[in-house]
Amino acid sequence: MKRTGAQILCESLVKEGVEVIFGFPGGSVLPLYDTLPQYPQLRHILVRHEQGAAHAADGYARATGKVGVCLATSGPGACNLVTGIANAHLDSSPVIAITGQVARPFIGKDAFQEIDITGITVPITKHNYLVLKAEELATVVKEAFYIARTGRPGPVLIDIPRDVFVEEANFHYPEKVNISGFKTIVQGHPSQIKKAANLINESKKPVILAGRGVIISGAFPELKELAEKAQIPVITTLLGIGCFPEDHILSLGMIGMHGMAYANMAVCSADVLIAIGMRFDDRATGKVSGFAPHAQIIHIDIDPAEIGKNVRVDVPIVGDVKHVLRELNKQVVVQTHLDWIGQVEEWRRDHPAVVIRETDELLPQYVIRKIYEVTQGNAIIVTGVGQNQMWAAQHFWYNKPNTLISSGGLGTMGFELPAAIGAKVGKPDEAVWAVAGDGGFQMTIQELATAAQDNIAVKIAILNNGFLGMVRQWQELFYKKNYVATPLSNPDFVKVAEAYGIPGLRVTDKKLVIAAIQRAMEYNGPFLIDFVVEPEENIYPMVAPGCTLAEIIEAPWNKVKVHTGSQETSNL
């Protein structure tokens, strides 16, 4: 039986197991929207800006490990997706972006709302397609999903001219893909794994540096086995957080610009560094020439181009983390590394990075800590970008994978709310908290309407410091407190939320933090809390840009008083 292009697309999405599409309509995708109700399996969530659709698909993908789907019309709709696609690209998130295009006869004529979105997205997608025949749609969708989720994941865009949606063709969903130029190496090379094992077995001061690749690969048990068997401390990147339980005695938390002082110290002294599924971003490494100066580096990554790109590597292993670690773990011998662990513990004691200073003021760190305590760590935290992001990374302990969702590579302010919506849609039974900056929140604030319309029960905690805080901190430290364009005069966020039909609370008093968080948790629907926090609080520790990880600026109040909190956590 013949079907229209729109039907073929929908059938193909159903075959791929898609359950939700985040989208926004317009002229060129109207035939598709007209067809959507025939496929009730495909839930459509109407966003209020296409950037929100892309972030929601990304948040959905990160929370579930499945492919997220977003949809936009041609021209401005497609252009509005760009930031979200770039964000997914830099953080290797599997997202399918479907865009409408002007009808085939109009292509190249600068027709109304025509934009070359496949041209625009070449550098920010893993691959993209312009589909010129309805009969090609099924194969394209099959390939697109395969490419998006296989190997190193990433976004794939499918651009479909309006008249292709109405063109009729036979529907046959291919069983297999056949893409000769797309190959993934899963198994690591045995002799390289052997070399790595020997290096690890001989090392005196090993550290593991684990990244998002561990999460993507689902290799938590394997990573834990390696760390425990050979007693190797585990440090993660920002995006690797959650790939190893943070309450584990061997967990040293995050590396990098705002990483834990003791983690950075361990990297600086290590004799062997086992980098697993991470890409040596400069926020993680500091000045590259001074990175891990005493270490032989083993790098496990599924993308051969990541090896040796930023940092010299002694033992490269191309492959999937899970597969490689399974083999490696067989060859790694049991060790204790007592001296080394003792040294690390000493640093941890002398440089307690996550101490919250004692004060009656409402501190942003305190808010995060209380969210952790009230939720007992059972929450997905989706962050904005800036100080709020770093505090969320430092003061919450992530013991499960996919519980911290953050825009790392692009650092997209405004990611938090739409990505949290996507995460909540994908994981309806989990508590999802968006930790927002007062600046970034206003970049995608319109998605409050999305949450309200579909009753998507995200909880929003704004860390309202009245500043573009992260930039203000740089101005304070590097530009003599010349606060240009960083003070914010904000709207009343609670009233804004209420106007969207979402209840909210403002908290200015430390003593009300817990009660407010509990209120939000009890409410059956989206809820916003505007935490008016100390305006000039800084993120510490810090490694200034251009410095090595050894040059750590620690909190001025460090060693003054240690706040232990009510939770027992080993990396305090």
């Binding site: 496949t118 312009l130 490419i147 130029g181 190496i185 090379h189 993308d303 040796g308 490269p316």
Partner: protein, 188 residues
């Protein structure tokens, strides 16, 4: 570019619209210093062959190879710089010629075993094939007569001897050791 640092890559790419754009977009975005690209059909239907010359002094050639390999439509990339290769480039040079200089130009062209393929009252078009040095020297010699136009194809290259076509079968998962890149021709 120092000729010693030049590296030659050969890529087999799917013959589809937009592929050249993907490749050139990659070079620009990653700040790869590319001296020339020549593209044309290969012996395999549906696949084009690109010869890319990279300056190894300013560009990490291994990164170029790996990043190119990530482009879905790039089926295979190999670095043939270490192999024994033949490399050729074609140039057309339109040179100013008067009755008094014409014979001297023809003499030079003959020495280079180049051809004159167009003769007009005030000019000649010279066609020359060879390696880069040969084209450079001929061009330099002709310059003093006045070169009106120069068009060069960029280098194309092939590995010498019995080695056969570039293997487009997926590699075994052993990429650490440099993979055997050229399939040996079957001995009869």
């Amino acid at each position: 570019m120092n000729s010693k640092t030049k590296r030659t890559l050969v890529a087999l790419v799917e013959d589809r619209p937009g592929v050249l754009n993907r490749v050139s977009s990659l070079f620009r975005r990653r700040n790869f210093n590319i001296e020339s690209i020549a593209v044309g059909h290969s012996e395999q239907p549906g696949l084009s062959r690109m010869t890319i010359v990279v300056d190894g002094a300013t560009t990490a050639v291994e990164q170029v190879r790996k990043q190119l390999d990530k482009v879905i439509e790039v089926v295979k990339v190999i670095d043939i710089s270490e192999e024994p290769i033949v490399a050729r480039e074609l140039a057309l040079i339109k040179v100013h010629a008067t009755s008094s200089t014409r014979s001297e130009i023809i003499e030079i062209v003959d020495i280079f075993r180049a051809n004159i393929i167009d003769v007009a009252p005030g000019s000649l078009i010279v066609e020359v094939t060879g390696d880069e040095d040969k084209i450079e020297s001929l061009y330099n010699l002709l310059r003093r007569f006045g070169v009106k136009e120069l068009s060069r194809t960029g280098k194309i290259a092939m590995v010498r001897g019995a080695a056969g076509e570039i293997n487009v079968e997926p590699e075994k998962p052993e990429t650490e050791e440099r993979p055997r890149r050229i399939r040996k021709a079957k001995t009869a």
